[in-house]
Chain length 353, copies 2
Amino acid sequence: MKMSDRKRKILQIVVDEYINTAVPVSSKSIAEKHLTDVSSATVRNELASLEELGYLTQFHTSGGRVPSPQAYRFYIEELMEKGDLSEQDLDYIERSFSGKSNDVEHLVRSVSKVISELTDYTSVGIGPHADEERIRNIALLACGEGRALLVIVTGERILRDSFIEIPDGMTNEELENASRVIAKLFEGKALSEVKDVEEEVLSEFGQYRQVMHEVIDALKSYTRPRDEDVVLTGAEKIFNHPEYDDIENVKNFLTVISSKDKLAEIIGDENDEIQINVKIGSCDDAEVPEDCSVVTATYSAGGKNLGTYGVIGPIRMDYHKVITVLENVGKALEGIIGNKQNDKNEKKDKKDE
Amino acid sequence: MKMSDRKRKILQIVVDEYINTAVPVSSKSIAEKHLTDVSSATVRNELASLEELGYLTQFHTSGGRVPSPQAYRFYIEELMEKGDLSEQDLDYIERSFSGKSNDVEHLVRSVSKVISELTDYTSVGIGPHADEERIRNIALLACGEGRALLVIVTGERILRDSFIEIPDGMTNEELENASRVIAKLFEGKALSEVKDVEEEVLSEFGQYRQVMHEVIDALKSYTRPRDEDVVLTGAEKIFNHPEYDDIENVKNFLTVISSKDKLAEIIGDENDEIQINVKIGSCDDAEVPEDCSVVTATYSAGGKNLGTYGVIGPIRMDYHKVITVLENVGKALEGIIGNKQNDKNEKKDKKDE
DNA sequence: GTTAGCACTCTCATTCATCAAGTGCTAACG
DNA sequence: CGTTAGCACTTGATGAATGAGAGTGCTAAC
């Protein structure tokens, strides 16, 4: 059965209406409010047909219709009316990123916060994978008996750090030397390349082989995302949506978002080629819990990855708003990070003259 | 009216029973299960009297009695039966801390996790205040155009970090020099002392006054606790307790724990002299939400503060279990940290010989 | 001081009737 | 053949009535 224009129109009305009101929509309301040229009986026929096509379901015979996941997908791809954010929202984005925030952790937090505030959904963010970042500087700093702090700075203004046990009797000078040697060895390398040079590097080190071993282990550990990299904002926002008047749903939701691991899986597992990605529970992705939708975007600016962000919420989600917010945040980030880089390049150019 | 022994006994039974079952307890059940030598009518008289004294309340006339906040407090201070954790739980604590974990952030996380797992309540932890920690090492590391990473290592194996803008044209060598000078200036100082020497230090710096200014600002900022310092574990645990079958309570709870600021206030605001602190909502502390109890402990080992940890949950909380867990975690930490320090001192002593 | 007995109160689950909403179907219409 | 009016049917939601069960408070007797 083909999808007539009228069917499309009606489907769009149903989805729009349901997203706005959370109430199953009836043939009568459609005929009265949106399709005044036909009767409710006609609409009823169309609805029955859309139901047969798998786009609509009803909880019970006298309860109006509700979009199926398939309908949401179709809606997002073909039906949704485009339209930008309000001036107010755009302003808010602008103001939020114009400020200081000079390292990735803060950036991740503020991006996540902005998304949550504007969409009114719970937002998740995960910073950029460190895998492909190149090491800019690396140092071992003395910090009391038997221990040194390993600091790694990468091109992406990311830094990670951890403690390394050092042998007794290693002096501060020796440590500084080791630090310098290590810096030389790894500068310019991507974290993902560390394992390739592992053998080679270790063989060069006699005396402090053990220290080197720890350094390499630490470096390798940074290629895996850690709990701390996943930020969650606005968990309480779910109570603004009536599906979470039901305790079971809240329980489900809270259990999922309590595990940073699970969140990372849900968020992180997206296709790089698609800028904005929508996963609808029980339909697109096993990780996403039933009754939940997850919309994510992976940002980059100046060719650099800035992490993946998104919202998690009920399937009846305001996809238009969410997607528009994600798009605009992306643009804003690109603008800001882009400009900063340009500034820098200009300065550099000036210097080079 | 004085509190007879029998009243105490009955009150203890009511609180114990209610904590275990979450069901208001009746005179009949007390007489049958615990006080077989008297009749329910006698118990009833005692209950009425305890109610008059403010220890018990009832939701409705035929609903049995429930302890008041005042009763819980009395229970904790005088009635609660002492008794240690099971072998199994002690083992779990042992195993959890015997491992690697070599910096504060990991420690905070694992302590919080252990507490949440063993008590079955949501746990909050906040790392030690940096105020009084002495700076061990401080360094500025180059990391791309116009920016340097400020790394601070304190005696408490804590480290904090942030980025500093540096002037154009400052070379790596200059940076290393500045780094060394700064390290000399601040080594051994407590973070809380930084503001005292601010003027003096700034006046010594001509050329790189601006850099120094940023360094000092950063140092000062570490005396305030940051969102990242507050960790939350086991939020989903509340669903194991029937008071959170009610959506309103969940909403309340989730809203509170979503704000790290609020959490920090609730947790952090305790009296240093008391090792274990119990706050019962709407009775002890304005910060603690109505219907919630918060039990916290501030740990230290070898004279050093290790942070404040606790659980947040319903007023009908298993105080005995919670307090015992907190005590044992404290002991375990003291044991481990203490030993490590001893090891080190021994090594040092040997070297000195 | 303790107890048995009983009336009283309140909750909870069940039943029943009613109402409103919305559909599906059928028959009629243009 | 698409559209429509009309109507029977289904279902959930609401509220009143009811009875059972639990627990208390009070009184009078021990």
